[in-house]
Symmetry: C2
DNA sequence: ATATAAGTTGACCAATTGGTCAGGTTTTAT
DNA sequence: ATAAAACCTGACCAATTGGTCAACTTATAT
């Protein structure tokens, strides 16, 4: 049971890896996989390019690590809802969480969007199970409510798509929104937008909007 | 008034240009600007690479031409709505048109999405006026209804964003949807999804759903 | 008929860029 | 102290790829 030190990263490695991952998320979100240069990531992380390759053997490897990190975050945010909770409460909470995610981690959302527009080669290859499980879990909850007559909606899938679409739009299309409104949305405006989505979705399901989300 | 023939394209040129544009739309939608190789476009159009460069001087030029073509289509589809029409009718029609667009021209929608995620450098540079005018026109119509009390919604912008988001999602994220449902959505399913959006948006604005859109 | 423009294309080039490598320094466990 | 592992990085390379060029064929107007 001796602790083998071979191929174990030290403190420096862990810190630098995170530094690089953050820089890479920024660059991949803005330029896509092909459009991102390792040199740009290195510059942003203030490290030499060779150092980036030292920690992440290849560009693809780096991208996969970024995607992995995003998926972990993604899952953790929405894992709380269960089928025994009140639909109105859960949906409102769900939308609030998603919008919070769009506000604080827009770049993560954009990388996810780029991956899917690109045909999701990695999501349905490398992280297939992980991603599928996350989605199936959400569909299951809604379907349960429909079966029990707790919620009025024709199709669990379409409801989820509409929620995802509205919430992710504020991250993925923020350049368009900023341009249209003449300035970046601040937190107050994000909360207003969140209410507009909650209003839309809950009314659409003929649910009462909980007091604290009005 | 003599007809100067210098730099005028003949029939062959017009036909080939369109052939290349169609191929380019396909490739740009799938791989983004940086990820697309001129050779791939040429292969899809079944022409030598040099021939593509002959008609479109550079890759950027080709991309701009594709974007231009998409914007013309985009605008033409939504220019019909006016502020004097019935909001319920117009919104339902608007959503139907957008969903039809997502069904028949998903790649155009994806190029548009990629451009915006990328920060919309060309939309707010080259085609700034064109694009802004299209958006402002839509906002104006909604705002007019709000001012006249014809429609119950807090914010014209957010309403439009939510409509765009839901409809474009079915084009931009079709890879995810296809994966989730195990097969591509057919027209019947698209019509069902369209109804779910109309239901959501109109109920959200406290509008009656017109008979033919139920 | 023929001149002029439009269209075609293989050969080639220069720049970019992902990735390697070897020779170093620093950290860490004992 | 010292050995082993972890970390660092300048120099370099091979492959990709956007774009040029010159020689050629085809179409078209008069």
């Amino acid at each position: 049971m001796t602790d083998n030190k071979i191929n174990k990263e030290g403190r420096i490695g862990a810190a630098n890896k995170q530094l690089i991952l953050n820089a890479a998320e920024h660059e991949f979100a803005k330029h896509g996989f092909k459009g991102t240069r390792i040199q740009q990531v290195a510059d942003r992380a203030q490290l030499p390019k060779t150092n980036v390759l030292y920690y992440f053997k290849s560009k693809e490897n780096l991208y996969l690590a970024v995607l992995q990190q995003i998926l972990e975050l993604w899952n953790s945010v929405f894992d709380e809802a269960t089928k025994d909770d009140d639909p109105a409460e859960v949906l409102a909470r769900y939308i609030t969480d998603k919008m919070e995610f769009s506000l604080v981690r827009p770049e993560a959302s954009r990388i996810f969007a780029l991956e899917i527009i690109n045909g999701a080669p990695n999501l349905y290859g490398f992280y297939k199970e992980q991603h599928a499980a996350w989605m199936e879990g959400r569909v299951e909850v809604i379907q349960h409510w429909i079966d029990e007559g707790k919620i009025q909606t024709a199709n669990a899938h379409y409801l989820l798509y509409n929620i995802w679409a509205c919430c992710q739009h504020y991250a993925d299309f923020s350049a368009q929104i900023t341009h249209l409104q003449g300035k970046e949305m601040d937190r107050a405006e994000f909360e207003e937008a969140t209410k507009s989505i909650i209003n839309l979705i809950l009314k659409g399901c003929s649910l009462e909007i909980p007091e604290k989300y009005r």
